[in-house]
């Protein structure tokens, strides 16, 4: 019981001290789980994190479930995840209530219109950074090159997403199938 509570508290702390999510939380995880509590080694943490990245769902949540499971089994996985989600639920609910009440002021509306422009700029940058990461590969000398196959998949998915009513889920499933077919055709040379 005490261990489960500690697990909940640890992930509550990680949730409340992480801004941004997924990729920015690794230093927090390392501090809370490896350095402070000695619950897992850094290698196990990096394993959890790698699996968290390549499984469905939010990276932060996946990592929490995985670490919780390693520590205290299935119940541990659930408790750690709930600990991670609690701060989001509390904070966002309060902020949302507060904002709804403020919306009628002109100054707040101007501020929000400004923020919307800012969000567009920031999101453009997110896409740009993501494209740099997901559409390139390293050659043996460590230089980055555009990966033609990735660019083709990206372009095809973009056309489907932007110009057709095909649901997002279906596009992801198609992409997964294409990945497997490419692997079979190229005999793994593309991976």
């Amino acid at each position: 019981m005490v261990e489960l509570w500690n697990l909940y508290v640890a992930f509550f702390r990680i949730g409340i001290l992480t801004f941004g999510g997924g990729l920015t939380m690794l230093p927090m995880l390392k501090y809370e789980l490896v350095e402070k509590r000695n619950w897992i080694t850094e290698d196990v943490l990096l394993d959890c994190y790698a699996i968290g990245q390549c499984t469905p769902g939010i990276i932060a949540v996946n990592t929490a479930t995985f670490v919780g499971y390693k520590r205290k089994g299935v119940l541990g996985g659930i408790v750690a995840t709930l600990g991670m989600a609690t701060p989001s639920i509390l904070i966002i609910t309060v902020v949302a209530m507060f904002l709804e009440a403020m919306m009628s002021y002109a100054i707040v509306q101007h501020a929000i219109m400004g923020i919307r422009g800012g969000v567009c700029g920031l999101m453009l940058n997110t896409v740009y950074t993501l494209a740099q990461k997901s559409l390139t590969k390293k050659d043996p000398e460590g230089k980055l090159h555009l990966d033609k196959i990735c660019v083709a998949i990206c372009a095809a998915a973009f056309v489907l997403a932007f110009f057709t009513p095909i649901p997002t889920v279906l596009i992801i499933v198609i992409a997964a199938v294409v990945g497997v077919i490419l692997d079979k055709v190229t005999g793994g040379a593309a991976a």
Binding site: P56, G57, L99, G117, G118, V119, C150
Partner: protein
């Protein structure tokens, strides 16, 4: 009640198919904005700003916010739990049965296909969002909102500067809010 089930269904689906963290949920939220009267595309952009500037993983924050907009506090809790449920199920199965999951060749092949597609999905969603928030349509004509467009381009340009890249998103939103008030957006 049926609204609650729809919320749970949509966020469960998002949790199951949003691969790669916070921004990957945006295409799904965009679908919801188009399909249901829960929140508009305009509100979605404020939701993103708030989710990025408050503690907690962005994906969870957005689920709570979207649920709250739809069904109040109850909606916020339900949506967030629905979002994490697929993670819990999938990760527990993987942790229990699959050793060396990420080294598995099929898994690698699947992600080789999915990663560039996710980039495309997010790009399409962001372009859609820009079209709705920075452009208005009047009598069939598309009119850009110049102030918003300029701010968007300036912030994107500043973000390419290494020293500014590390600034917390909340700093940018605060600056954008001040610009919005000063220049009467």
């Amino acid at each position: 009640m049926s609204q609650a089930f729809l919320l749970i269904f949509e966020f469960f689906k998002t949790g199951l198919f949003a691969i790669g963290g916070g921004p990957a949920t945006i295409p799904f939220l965009m679908d919801m904005a188009k399909k249901y009267p829960w929140f508009t595309m305009h509100e979605l952009s404020s939701m993103i700003a708030i989710s990025e500037s408050t503690p907690g993983p962005i994906g969870l924050n957005m689920a709570t916010y979207a649920g709250f907009r739809t069904l109040g506090t109850f909606g916020g809790i339900v949506s967030t739990l629905a979002l994490v449920l697929p993670s819990i199920i999938v990760i527990l199965i993987i942790a229990k049965f699959l050793d060396g999951f990420q080294e598995n060749r099929i898994v690698q092949a699947v992600f080789k296909g999915i990663r560039p597609a996710v980039t495309a999905l997010i790009a399409a969603a962001v372009i859609d969002m820009i079209r709705v928030t920075l452009f208005t349509e009047e009598a069939g004509k598309v009119i850009p909102q110049y102030k918003g467009c300029i701010l968007c381009v300036v912030i994107f340009a500043l973000l390419q500067w290494k020293k500014l890249k590390k600034l917390h998103p909340a700093v940018w939103f605060l600056a954008a809010a001040v610009v919005g008030v000063v220049f009467r957006f």
